[in-house]
Symmetry: C3
Subunit: 151 residues, 3 copies
Amino acid sequence: MSAEKRVRELGIRLPQATPPAAAFVPWVRAGNLLFLSGHIAKKDGRPWTGQLGAGLGTDDGKKAARGVAVELLATLRAATGNLDKILRVVKVMVLVNSASHFTEQHLVANGASELFEEVFAERGSHARSAFGVAQIPLGACVEIEMIAEVE
Amino acid sequence: MSAEKRVRELGIRLPQATPPAAAFVPWVRAGNLLFLSGHIAKKDGRPWTGQLGAGLGTDDGKKAARGVAVELLATLRAATGNLDKILRVVKVMVLVNSASHFTEQHLVANGASELFEEVFAERGSHARSAFGVAQIPLGACVEIEMIAEVE
Amino acid sequence: MSAEKRVRELGIRLPQATPPAAAFVPWVRAGNLLFLSGHIAKKDGRPWTGQLGAGLGTDDGKKAARGVAVELLATLRAATGNLDKILRVVKVMVLVNSASHFTEQHLVANGASELFEEVFAERGSHARSAFGVAQIPLGACVEIEMIAEVE
């Protein structure tokens, strides 16, 4: 099964991968591992701001996490030229900008996890940590980093 | 020295490893590295909820962290069939559900670190990060993820 | 270009690497990857305490992050004997002790990222995550962990 084909079937149009910022880069390859920088949630091209449990609900967060996963796919393609070169999504870390009483970070994170399984099938099943953070750069509601294995 | 033997000597009974959730799995192997998902603290089979510095003290947290470490051992055994196949505990990340004034995350984390050294001796000495987070899925007081090296 | 020479040119005197604590160690090598423990910010040899957005500003945090990066360089040298054995700074995770409204964690993190590029040039350009945490051990304002690739 081709991940590139799945992306097309799902009707997902991958955006331009985020260009490198001044001081760091979107990904680094070491051996067969690809380490992706934390990507933040965006809406209409700008940071999707807000805190879960204080204005944003679990469904918003899940949608934001799926959006970040699309950005991560764009970076994976930029890094490899072709999503079918991804052998495995190894590890995903999902940071949820959380009010102190919000405890559904795992449901928010599913927005990303489910997309990886839709696109990569069994190669998309990954280890994961999800937790609530005090804040995220630019006030974004979700940030996700990833480790993937490549050919 | 056998880690399996040490577990028995310490009188630790490893629980059933946590089954995979819908959208992610408890571990992924890439090359010789085993990446374990974040495991949350449990008490009597349910999430051990609460915040350090607001109801829970450092000793509670340390005990919770040791409990998570036992769960991680169960996952390591499920992943490898035998704890003696673990060459090294490489890296541990300890997240402590923290009130804003609580600053003893390192002492909480020792609950896990000490168990790894008891079980694996010098193969258990690991790199570590510990810090306070705003919240953890299901309100758990501690969450720990791990990277281990295998044969 | 030699990283050791760059450190001298920049007038940076690397401190003694932090000795191992009781329960964990400053770094672990697995294959060609070097995993460094979270290092906390220090001032005059003691934890540099405080929260960004509540007493400390972005410039303070950036300076603290640069200081942590110097500590990480000291650990890299202790691990390898010579900074020129570092093939690549692979991944940096920057934790910023943040009041709930502080959203400039990325600018704080630049204090570390810029030093790595000054010292290692293109070998210093890294993947990165930066985010705000509720608290850090001993009340430190910044904590940074790193993965590096070695020969």
